[in-house]
Amino acid sequence: MTAVTEIQAPSKPEVPGQGRSPSKFPVYLAVTLLALLWTIPSVGLLINSFREPRSIRGSGWWTVFGNLFDSTAWTVQNYSEVLDGGFGNAFANTLAITIPSVAIPLTVAAFAAYAFAWMEFPGRNLIFVTVVGLLVVPLQMALIPILRVYTGFDLNGTYPAVWLAHAGFGLPLAIYLLRNYMGSLPASLVESAKIDGADHYLIFTRLVVPLSVPVLASFAIFQFLWVWNDFLVALVFLGVDPANRVLTVELADLAGRGEGALNLLPAAAFVTMVLPLVVFFSLQRFFVRGLTAGSVKG
């Protein structure tokens, strides 16, 4: 900690890259080329999603650049067909799965994190170290036994079964993140609240939770994207029954139909991506932080 306390010398006016290389042209070129290379697959898909079904099958998406302003070449038919053909329902299912799957672990973990950070109880350190260990345990370790329990109680294919599974799988990361953050709040703050007569519940709800909003938001976004994009948990615990399918399962099914469904795939893919992309563009800062922090999750 002491290493970074020295005051930073006022540096020269910020002109990035000044004096580093004689010309920035090669750098611009390399960055642009790589960014372009990374973007081409998605752009191709986006263009295809608005083309006539016959054109999607008949020619590459790049051929549109020859007649960009021919209005008969463009259509939203694929989107309406996709939404009517199961993806509208799947979108609702995915929302119904995702929101509680974020809210439940967030609440449960917040209480637990507070206990790990500010309460003393037997087994505290051992349990928390176990949580740290659980961070990297592959999801695959949990699937078979949980599926057996669910099948035994006839719970498979129900929403709560999936909510609680996502909650359980998301908890190690949530507890780990929140506890580290809450534990780094100044002890004097908590102590003085105690002296003023506040009990743990009051300190938690009125002091610690409001102060922990950034880390709560980061976890919420990370968990949202994780659950929204999840294919494995939904496939195993919700199944392939058309009424139950979430977006990823529906999309994988469509992709498996091959040539016959080829014209619907681009539009369908974008229906599954639209919400994550909105989150990505609007909350990029939280998104990055959540992702960075969540990088350890199994």
């Binding site: 960055v31 008949g58 929302l95 209480f111 029954d241 992702l291």
Partner: protein
């Protein structure tokens, strides 16, 4: 009383409860109370979720289900926790302070125990049983997955994936972050967003994106609509079914994963690069170092620990990815990986024994990382 009554709310400094006559029965009571207080919230949740039939009926209005779920999942849980806290406050102060932490942390511990610890232990047991779990078969499952070519191919591919994907993703991410760092802030942010964007997409979505890169039309079946074949054919070659070219198809699948994961390393490495003190860089430049030398001798050593973290993280993600292979090839044409094979075995073939054994392989491989994480955490705690 040898000690004054300990007033609660003294995290960290509270002394253990003194042993008194009759302490053992008191302790037993206390532990019962603790266990009960930990169980109340999960039990009420499970009862509520699973006894109300409307939540299980497929034709119930989705929106209604979501609203109920959110009300219960957030509001209901808070009320439950609040009720537990009130009940504990009514207890004698000392008992209350001993029980309260379990009301706070207990529900999380119960969920972790049921959803992660119990299944992990059970999976170990299942891996020594036959496909339906009716009898023990010793090491048969493991013997099969380490000798039969189906499984050996999966393991070979998984090893290649974890060698290739993290190395390439980190290398490109580091190179890109370094170059973008030299651009004006706005261009840098825009360029980084484009590389980073795939991270918001699901593995299934990414597979569909790349379906239109790798699409294949045999000769005489119309124009190529996959861009890779279009370029390939433009150079005069015959179109190729990329997903079925032996061995190389693995590379094409791995490229999808690289495309997805590069942004992650790039973002984290980019902020690490910005943390390298400008003085070092300036000093070495004044001494006549080229940009290439500055990068390898100053920047890379300064951010080595970040590189290792990013590399490890990408490695774990890659090791566990199943969706890409599952969607693109279904594990056929010699492209199967362990994580995908595991799901196929137990979910498609109902072969729980082999599935569990493959899950154990997945787990055992990450144990070293688990140990390192725990050790590093302990060190951090010791210096807190």
């Amino acid at each position: 009383m040898s000690t004054p009554p300990v007033i609660e709310l003294d995290g960290g400094k509270q002394r253990p409860l003194p042993a008194e006559p009759g302490a053992s029965s008191n302790a037993l009571q206390l532990w019962l109370l603790r266990i009960v207080s930990a169980l109340v919230v999960p039990a009420v949740l499970v009862l509520f979720f699973f006894t109300f039939d409307f939540l299980r009926q497929e034709d119930t209005n989705k929106l209604f289900q979501v609203v109920v779920a959110v009300l219960v999942g957030v509001g209901g849980i808070w009320i439950l926790y609040w009720g537990m806290d009130r009940a504990i406050t009514a207890m004698p102060a000392r008992a209350g302070s001993a029980v309260r932490p379990f009301a706070f942390a207990g529900p999380a511990i119960v969920l972790l125990a049921f959803y992660l610890i119990y299944p992990a232990v059970n999976t170990f047991i299942l891996s020594f049983q036959n496909s339906t779990g009716t009898e023990f078969v010793g090491f048969d499952n493991f013997q099969r997955i380490f000798t039969e070519s189906t499984y050996l191919i999966s393991m070979r591919n998984s090893v290649v994936w974890v060698l290739f994907v993290p190395a390439v993703a980190v290398a490109i991410g580091l190179g890109f972050a370094t170059l973008a760092d030299k651009l004006p802030t706005k261009s840098e942010a825009a360029a980084k967003s484009l590389i980073f964007l795939p991270l918001a997409i699901s593995f299934v979505g990414a597979s569909v994106v790349w379906t239109f890169v790798y699409n294949f039309r045999p000769e005489g079946f119309g124009d190529q609509i996959g861009i890779l074949n279009a370029i390939w054919v433009a150079f005069g070659a015959d179109s190729l079914n990329w997903m079925q070219v032996p061995l190389w198809n693995n590379l094409f699948l791995m490229i999808i994963m690289v495309w997805l994961q590069t942004g992650f390393g790039m973002v984290i490495l980019s902020s690490a690069i910005k943390g390298v003190p400008e003085d070092y860089l300036e000093a070495s430049r004044i001494d006549g170092a080229t940009e290439w030398q500055v990068f390898w001798r100053i920047v890379v050593p300064s951010i080595a620990s970040t590189i290792i973290v990013v590399w490890t993280t990408t490695l774990i993600t890659t090791w566990k990815v199943f969706d890409i292979v599952f969607v693109m090839t279904g594990g056929g044409f010699g492209t199967s990986v362990v994580a995908e094979r595991m799901v196929t075995e137990f979910f498609t073939f109902n072969n729980d024994g082999i599935g569990a054994a493959l899950a154990v392989v997945l787990f055992v491989a990450v144990v070293p990382i688990l140990v390192i994480n725990v050790r590093r955490f302990r060190e951090q705690e010791a210096t807190r």
